[in-house]
């Protein structure tokens, strides 16, 4: 679906990280956790290509006055990394954006009652909030949030409000455990005897480590990937990743945009990548 959205709020939630709320059609409420939107930052040719952002949250605002229709909204969480996100961070309430979405395949929730271990690194938390919101309906959920410093660990309060038990780790020790978030994840898996399943989004190195942990301990692991993409609908073939069986002779490229961004970690090739 392609639609024009009006920005309702755009605020810096931590140095360099922004959270934007915008209006959306009711269909957006059906977005599955892990799906994403392609945002055209402005109607000019610079930046030219849309930027992909995981759906952080969707919901409905109460009517502004008696008799008014409730307004569905969409939220994204983003880090300012370049020109496009830099421009996005300068936009204000009432500015208009052109949005495509929801795109891609989302997470599979897994069985009710099973422990759900959510692992997020930095802005990788973006698609995990909506996931947590879904999962807490029928399962105990634990979040493992990591970052370089405390500034890279985002929106923990929001997760706690959902009833998620949150664990944090930072490389400089400024928040939570000092070190990598995967260490904290492993401690939990040690304690439970490798129960439950893992959902992860974050930098490639973290995903690779999480995929390794899942494989070693036979814990089902779903990962949400990022990729440079131009279209978001499987046409440009810019964002592909490699399936397990990939080799130069037997290519197995998957589109992050349409076959992902969520994959079972066991479906993908991690060695050498």
């Amino acid at each position: 679906m392609q639609f024009k959205a009006m920005i309702l709020d755009n605020a810096e939630v931590s140095p360099g990280y922004w959270r934007m709320r915008m209006t959306a059609p009711a269909e957006m409420l059906e977005a599955k956790p892990g799906q994403f939107v392609m945002v055209r930052v402005n109607p000019s040719i610079d930046p030219l290509i849309r930027r992909p952002f995981g759906v952080f949250d969707v919901g409905t605002l109460q009517p502004a006055f008696t008799g008014a229709a409730p307004q569905p909204y969409l939220e994204i969480l983003y880090r300012v990394v370049g020109k496009g996100t830099g421009m996005l961070s300068t936009l204000h309430a009432n500015d208009i954006l052109d949005i495509l979405g929801p795109l891609g395949t989302g997470f599979e929730n897994g069985p009710a009652g099973e422990e759900k271990l959510i692992v997020g690194g930095g802005v990788g938390l973006a698609p995990l909030y909506l996931l947590a919101k879904e999962l807490v309906k029928d399962s105990p959920v634990r979040l493992f949030a990591g970052g370089r410093t405390k500034d890279d660990v985002l929106c923990i309060t929001e997760f706690e409000r959902l009833g998620v038990e949150c664990y944090t780790a930072t490389e400089d020790g400024s928040l939570g455990e000092c070190g990598l978030v995967t260490k904290v994840l492993e401690q939990r898996l040690d304690a439970t005897g490798n129960k439950g399943q893992i959902f992860a989004c974050g930098p490639h190195g973290m995903l690779k480590a999480v995929a390794g942990i899942g494989a070693k301990r036979s814990v089902k692991t779903q990962v949400s990937l990022e990729g440079y993409m131009a279209c978001g609908m499987g046409a440009c073939l810019g964002c592909v990743c490699q399936g397990t069986e990939h080799s130069a002779e037997n290519p197995d490229y998957r589109c992050v945009c349409t076959e992902g961004p969520v994959f079972e970690a066991a479906e993908l090739k991690w060695e050498g990548n």
Binding site: D46, L48, Y228, A230, C231, M233, C236, G238
Partner: protein, 304 residues
């Protein structure tokens, strides 16, 4: 008064001059929920080879000012899977589908041309002799007029369908290439494919693309494309299809003034999946506002 919008490319009649460019529109189906395919003139499918092709490692694309570089490396499903999985959709759409293809030898080009010739759902063929991102993926044929002529002649002998040749801008003299292809039997020329370019990540001191170089597309290349269309259109009798950074109806109409009979919209479809349809509608509105009765009257009508 509703202006006449149809144009002809060889024996192919288009309801309007707006087509989508190969590699930017999948096999048509990907865009069908965003674009009314029956509002555009034709669509060109992703470049096909005899065998499936993996394409290049990632990163394959990067944005640059006013454009993007891509080095996909002609990843495609191959002709067999195309026939099996993609052609059924083409049958369901009342808009000509043009199959873009490439080979590694003139014989392979001819074999593909002959197999595509046998598919009724394929309205016309576009020969890619100009991909900049794979070593044998056409560019050798696209930079030497004699090689280009041998490929075009081989394809010409293998098909009766309209044969379009897509030219590379990465040559010293595109007119010489155009004339060689025309003489070898091309029914039309697509001008231009992407320009070879490069992007560098300063902090990492590395090229951004895994392939190091890639093809530049988007509005950044429009002035070059316009100049090349103008040069080629003056030098050949066959129709020219203008391509390069077309983002709007006015861009498309400028290409027609420069001598293009039709245009292809490429990168714009990534930015706005409905771009081709909006451009076709915008062109018609432009003509209607100015009481231009027939879009054909604009072809090569540049003054001064």
């Amino acid at each position: 008064m509703k202006p006449a919008m149809s144009v002809e490319i060889g024996s192919l009649k288009l309801r309007n001059p707006v087509m989508t460019a190969s590699g930017t529109f999948g096999y048509g189906e990907e865009f069908s929920q965003y674009v009314d395919l029956e509002k555009i003139g034709a669509f060109v499918t992703k470049g096909l080879s005899l065998k499936p092709r993996a394409g290049n490692p990632t990163p394959r694309i990067v944005e640059t000012p006013g454009g993007m570089l891509n080095a996909i490396g002609l990843q495609n499903v191959g002709i067999d899977a195309f026939i099996q999985k993609k052609v059924p959709f083409l049958r369901s759409v009342n808009t000509p589908a043009i199959a873009n293809f490439f080979g590694y030898t003139p014989d392979e080009y001819a074999e593909l041309a002959s197999r595509l010739d046998a598919i009724p759902e394929v309205a016309a063929l576009e020969v890619n002799i100009s991909c900049p991102n794979v070593k044998q993926g056409g560019i050798v044929f696209g930079t030497d007029p004699n090689c280009a002529a041998s490929v075009v002649a081989a394809c010409r002998a293998a098909t009766k369908k309209t044969l379009i040749v897509k030219l590379s801008p990465n040559v010293t003299d595109i007119v010489e290439m155009a004339q060689a292809c025309e003489a070898a039997g091309a029914d039309a020329l697509s001008v231009i494919n992407t320009l070879t370019g490069m992007a560098i990540d300063l902090e990492r001191r590395r090229p951004v693309l895994a392939n190091i170089t890639g093809g530049l597309s988007g509005p950044a290349i429009k002035p070059i494309a316009l100049r090349m269309v103008w040069q080629v259109a003056k030098a050949v009798k066959v129709p020219v299809i203008g391509i390069g950074g077309i983002m709007s109806a006015t861009d498309a109409l400028e290409f027609m003034l420069a001598g293009a009979t039709a245009v292809q919209v490429g990168t714009a479809s990534f930015v706005n999946p409905a771009a081709a349809q909006e451009i076709a509608e915008g062109m018609e509105a432009w003509l209607a506002e100015r009481n231009v009765a027939d879009i054909k009257s604009l072809i090569g009508a540049l003054e001064g």
